[in-house]
Amino acid sequence: MSLSRTIETPEIIGAQDPKSAPRKHILDLDDYSREEITDVLESARGMKEVLGRDIKKVPALRGKVIVTLFYEASTRTRISFEEAGKVLSADVINMSASGSSAEKGESLLNTGLTIQAMGVDTIVIRHPHSGAPHLLAQHLDKVSIINAGDGLHAHPTQALLDLYTVQDKLGSLEGLKIVIVGDVLHSRVARSDIWGFAKMGAKVVLSGPATLMPLDLMRTSKSIARSPFASLVEVDTDLDRALEGADVVMALRLQQERQKAGFLPSIREYIRRWQVTDSRMELARPGAMVMHPGPMNEGIEISNSIAHGGSSVIEDQVTNGVAVRMALLYQTTIGAVQES
């Protein structure tokens, strides 16, 4: 088993068509069909109705156990999964790397096997290494694995909540222009969003400093093998030009902990050229919406007034995240009829 291979050509585990058995794992959106994404978004709408009730509790996953296994810091994703599981009546156990046996050197696989041996139904994992959820999915046969962010690779539940939020506001994703601006190189959110938006028929334009664009997406780098993304997206390092006619502008967090490697001359230059501001938003389509996967560096990749202004749907993204994760937990945890 080669892990590096799964990064180059993501191995498709559990690729599904809607008529087949329910999806067991959610690892990335690359193996989702448009129909399957549409179904998830529709189910999420049903889940959002549950969240709007006076009594936010349904018995769907009673008796099921979900573990959130987080090897990286998180506020919204972890809490959102926990709320989603609890509204569906599952028992949710939160585990983080600090304070666990991971500190004593236990391998990821052994931690996974231990959790599986306790009879857990679903593991929601976030890990700094790309491919960690795939590793668990390949070796654990009794639990469902949901990827809550792995390294630079994928964050499929975030992408689905982004799709939901845009569809909810604008009605359809077909033909929309989505501009994703900032540190795409280090963004697993951007990678999953590209799959999701492209599959739903939207046009994705990436913008930001050339040093923070993935090399295999740059049109100029003919010598480098194109990734499957290359045909789905455009890159334009000139944000003002990229914003023309944009329906959605998504700012990514400038991952300052990664900037020491010299990707940027200075934060000030970044702010001047790529911060999403009121004046820049005037270049986009009137009524265009602003998104951010959070956590935000307000005043760096996004101005304060935009972050909390009328065009911002950043809080809607958080609300919708619970509904989308309910739909995904329900789908994977409910269990399939055993064909005899």
Binding site: P22, P59, I334, G335
Partner: protein, 196 residues
């Protein structure tokens, strides 16, 4: 696999007209009624019953929709598409109302049990009544319908298929015989059967 027609378009129309009349008779009008259709075909039947009530009595009875998936006790799914939820929409609320639940086929009763659990999460109705297009027997719970389009005794290994114009292009109820032997798995876990 063979198929025999049990009800045609006219049979369905007459049955729904009679059910609407029985609802009016039993409730002495349509005041305070809410019709709640269970997805998928129950929703369309609910709308048709409401249209009948409007025609017969000149009163608009609110129609709500209910997806009971999250309340099922046989909640194991056969395919990807079965994990999809449909909209539950009860804008008028049911507190103190007389609720008429509507579904196409009454079989084990488990769908109706789930529907009642779902309903009480929205309030305390004064009463819950049940209207059904076809009762095929084989109850596993102490549930019976108040309004029945047609009773049809069936065998376990037969399936009932309700087709409606809104979903299938034509109104029809058909009995499908498996010419095979009795299936191995217990029928109540099959959502196909429940919805059939």
């Amino acid at each position: 696999m063979q198929e025999r027609q049990i009800m045609n378009h006219e049979d369905v129309r007459r049955a729904l007209a009679r059910v609407a009349h029985e609802i009016l008779e039993r409730n002495r009008g349509a005041e305070g009624l809410v019709i709640v259709g269970i997805h998928t075909r129950g929703v369309h039947l609910a709308r048709r019953i409401a249209a009948n009530l409007a025609e017969f009595e000149g009163i608009e009875v609110p129609v709500a929709t209910l997806d009971v998936s999250l309340y099922r006790d046989d909640n194991r799914v056969r395919s990807q598409s079965h994990t999809k939820l449909q909209p539950t929409d009860i804008p008028m609320g049911i507190q103190g109302k007389r609720v008429v639940l509507v579904d196409d086929v009454l079989y084990t009763g488990r769908t109706i049990r789930a529907a009642m659990d779902a309903l009480v999460d929205f309030g305390r109705p004064q009463q819950i009544q049940l209207a059904i297009l076809l009762d095929r027997g084989h109850r596993e719970l102490p549930i019976r319908a108040d309004y029945v389009g047609q009773n049809l005794p069936t065998a376990f290994n037969e399936r009932v298929k309700v087709r409606l114009i809104e979903t299938d292009g034509a109104d029809e109820v058909a009995l499908i015989f498996e010419d095979l032997e009795v299936p191995e798995e217990s029928p109540e876990i099959s959502k196909d059967e429940q919805e059939a």
